[in-house]
Homo-oligomer: 261 residues x 6
């Protein structure tokens, strides 16, 4: 599998897909050209596309595009995470039958990548630009991720509307979140006050996780649950408030997307 | 009642309403003229207005407007559904005291009609334009309906923010949904994996229905419920996970909008 | 504390903050100048900034800005409420460490202030412009507050996406709401059909309050709850449907933001 | 020659040209699709393209497009003139080697066709919209033609910047004008006070014709001339003020574009 | 005549005109409302309208509008000049049969008023904003007036495209210029190097006046002339280079607009 | 002098100038940052700024910026010409007292550099994009240079409105043109049919040069002249039609900008 994760191979596949789309739908031909085919690399295409999504009068597209390019150059791990996220969506979402779809059409994917840039700005002490970007993401993509939050790679946020991830939250690798999920804070202090989520966790639609709690590796949180206590690894919790109701069928529940209980 | 459902009569009523609005609020006079009064028919006004909502640099307003007009000409049933949806909102939402309000001001109504055009594109095999449109609807109206989903007529989605309706979902006629409702998928296969909702169902705010389950005709799903099993006709279910808690007072609960339990 | 609530002092502090931001981040220098530093007063800056958020082709920014300025002149209580709301966010949200952040970057704060202008228009019988504004707020900030609803001051709506507050709802002073909260209606009549919320209440993430119910002063509604009955003062309720589960630690739970149970 | 002037044949040729352009330049593929290939007729494409040129916040593109479509339907002679103008540019301008170029890229052609719509509005007594359009043409295309002026068909305005044609001016068929040409008024009365230009005249770059004077059929006005007196048919005039300096080599000097003296 | 020049009376007349236009042309009703009817004064309407013309991403409309309002407050003579210019156009241009036309539709009038604000900025030592504004005027209205130039009142620039007025030029009161007129510089030094134009002068279409020359009061410069020497008062000059060819029929030739020789 | 022409030194000087401007005028601080200070090189800043000027819905800013960057990389002579042009304007135009002004504020400079990119596209056989760009330049900057024309370096086009340079025109190095100048064609064939202009020529305001004529090195063409015959080196011509009237005081008249006769 390792080899397939190669950014260069992925980029060639995406170009192939888009060439075919482009021939079939002339109304989008220049859109595909401007966003994909005219670019020399995935990094260049991503910077361009996210900039068109998030640019505005106050911080124009080209300025954003240059910021994103700087981040990708400065920190190669960002692109690795981007690639892992594309594979994550492709493999977990049956409605995603082309590798290019997340980048062009899925709000959750776009919001996560834009967060990665805001997070980079935050660590570079350009905090007001990071907050500006957070607001742009929240306004245009309806996902509110604080730039100080820490997310791993292989992340999928499906449908995305209404997701909130707070300042001191931490999310491991290969985690799947559905729309309406909240990793919210408890209290008004400056200590860690948001959830710490382990690898491979599946958090189903509209679940609310509140406070400095630990969600163990491979756990599953059922839809609509309210979680205010630690969750052990590899269990399923459900309810308001949530209780342990079983064990996920899969050791990495984020992969099989079985949102049922 | 039949006669009142006539598209032509509705159009005359809407024009009458708007003429009065226009006199009272000069700041919106040209808005009303451009969106309603300058048009020869409801179909023309709808194409125009949705195009102004969803157009962007990549697919400009006028191109969308022509696509919508083509769809309405090609498939008269779309306009019938539009008319039924306007009456649905007018009759079920007490805050809606004019027939023109859904078209101009209600995100849920606009999202459903835009979905109807995306659905038409999907069936015409213009799938990437359909996906583009789905993304535009999700970004601007905060409602995510897969273009392959199947919706009946007389549909109301009230307030609308955060509604998600997946690829293999099916919704009957005269159904009311509130904001935050999810008809979500379970699993990663390509079979039917989303809910199948019968006629006259009321799905209250934030309810999550997951997987290939059947919601019987005239059922009511209480707010915040998590539904992962079939629901028989004419019962009320509630809770996380949802259980049967009674029967709706009305045989068609979508009409009386009694969201209580 | 009284003195600190002074609008003039707050304005000077905000300018001081922004001057420092401006020096550190040249990409935003003109943004800060245009939105804050070039203005003679908080009222002027607020009118300007909200107009840039909500203006569109149909009702341009400058027209909105003039409407907002008229409202602030006509009714000084609006500015008092604005000031109280800024303090509310600053004191209750640990991620808010500057007084200027709510105005420039927080969707919930922006939506509440824009509602205040829509509410003023509604009472001035400019109802179609009020509805237009409600739609603009819902579309751009993902918060749907009916212009006829009645909100007190010292209101915080954190993160904000998906909040719905219906036509006959009433909210007291110093109330905190999280994203995804609904104050929804029950039934189709024209009587009071939405919740009446007392002072100091905390309504946690995704809670749904439905119908003409009274939420007593200082009550706390846990995340994800479904509330369809009256809630006495100074109790905590939770669950679907919600039951009394205890008492808030703080007499004014909106202030300590303890969303746990 | 008659047959070639057929609008339908021209339209097929234009589509053929654009299909080839589109394949060679993907950055413009959707531009060509939206402006030409997606349209059923030359009339539809022209309405669309001019509307994108002249639309603005106050009178949006789609409203203009509908006005232009109405004019073309109401008065078929407009389309005849459009067709004649396309042939005029193609035959007289060696830099124009495709029939589609005038419509998409030449300001003079665009200004003349937009004037034809303003002229139609003027005669329909929609005078303030006609003046609005005149201002839009002058602002975006740098050509100022009063909507009451009368122009024939087979008109070419090459390069176009700075051309002014006054309220009571009259221009025959098959006339060529270069940029900087003025047909200006003398005096402040309401009688005819602008030039009356016969068929086949060539008015070279920067020539100024002032007052109610008659320019005879087939005359040539040399570049930079100031003409304040009648000019007989089939002579060449030059100078400030202009005098007869010879006879044009061609009986229809607008066709051979010999601007020399 | 004095009384008619009153700004307040003019404002009432303009409102009356616009109310009538507005009723006749609903497509422009909101345009008229936003630009004229919603304003309390001519000064307010002018600031608004010019800001919509000249605003851009870098310096947004509302920022410009505030600059213009400051100038009008700081220096009442600007408004006097505006009023005089409106009367000038109304009285001298037969195509101008309503007082509102110059402000909304005539590029020359708009350019002169915008120059007045740039000139104010220049004297306030905000030179780079003044140059920015000069560039915006030149780009959108095709008139290039250096902000350091000095213009009197009662100025009309008809049609306007291509007019250039250099840094050390000076123009008296009640002067009429046509499009294409240049008041250009000679040499590269920093002394006065542009024309000094007396009161009541008429400079006809495309005339070029170059260097530090004096144009005497009441002189007339014929169209297309090249003037490189002083011109005495009350004579007519014409030709390339220009020579005295007679005397104007009117003692103030700018008023009768007799561009003939 | 050589050393001062160094692109790197010029870039440092421009940054220094802009830093000072930026401190004095906060309304433009982000404009200066986005267009100059955030860029690593003159080439990068130029690509960015011209793209903001010429981008539109059909070919967005970022696409243009990438085309311009490709051209500058592919052909280093373009940047050399840009540098020479900046010095040309700075040294010849007394109103230009900072090196940054041409790039940000002078239409003539901007049009020439944009032509250089269109010319590069033309030679790369991307002709329809070159024509598209020519139209954008003509529409936004009012200068019409055919992409096939050939221009040297050290070119200044002052004020610029209305300049037209035809398809087979050729201009040497260190030439100065004023606004309204035409290098126009004669006839309808495909041979050379436009002027061939030698080094160091000054063509004054509104002069019209027509046909395949040769303008000798160091010649001066007086304002408003009509030139239809060859002009020998180092003479001054004037009139309609132009005749030899003397010799320029300077051997390179483009440098002293003495437009007089």
């Amino acid at each position: 599998m390792k080899e397939e994760r190669d950014s260069e191979l992925l980029w060639l596949t995406i170009r192939e897909e888009v060439r075919e789309f482009s021939e079939r739908e002339p109304a989008l031909a220049s859109y595909y050209y401007a966003n994909i085919l005219s670019h020399p690399s995935l990094a260049s295409a991503l910077s361009f596309h996210l900039a068109t999504r998030l640019g505005c009068d106050s911080v124009p597209e080209m300025t954003l595009s240059e910021v994103f390019t700087s981040a990708l150059t400065d920190e190669p791990a960002i692109l690795e995470a981007v690639v892992a996220d594309i594979y994550a969506v492709y493999e977990r979402d049956p409605a995603c039958n082309h590798y290019v779809l997340p980048m062009l059409f899925f709000k959750g994917f776009q919001a996560v990548q834009a967060y990665r840039f805001a997070h980079w700005l935050w660590r570079k002490e350009r905090r007001s630009l990071a907050l500006f970007l957070q607001n742009r993401i929240s306004t245009t993509l309806d996902v509110d991720i604080h730039p100080a939050a820490q997310l791993g790679k292989g992340i999928m946020i499906d449908h995305a509307t209404g997701v909130v991830i707070g300042e001191t939250a931490r999310i491991g690798d290969n985690v799947s979140l559905l729309h309406g999920v909240t990793l919210g804070g408890v209290g008004t202090g400056h200590q860690v006050r948001h959830p710490q989520v382990g690898d491979g966790v599946l958090i189903s639609v509209g679940a609310k996780l509140l406070g400095n709690i630990t969600i163990g590796e491979g756990a599953k949180i059922a839809g609509g649950s309210l979680v205010v206590d630690d969750v052990p690894p590899h269990v399923t919790v459900a309810g308001v408030p949530a209780k342990i109701v079983g064990k996920p069928a899969h050791s990495v529940p984020s992969l099989d997307m079985d949102q049922g209980m």
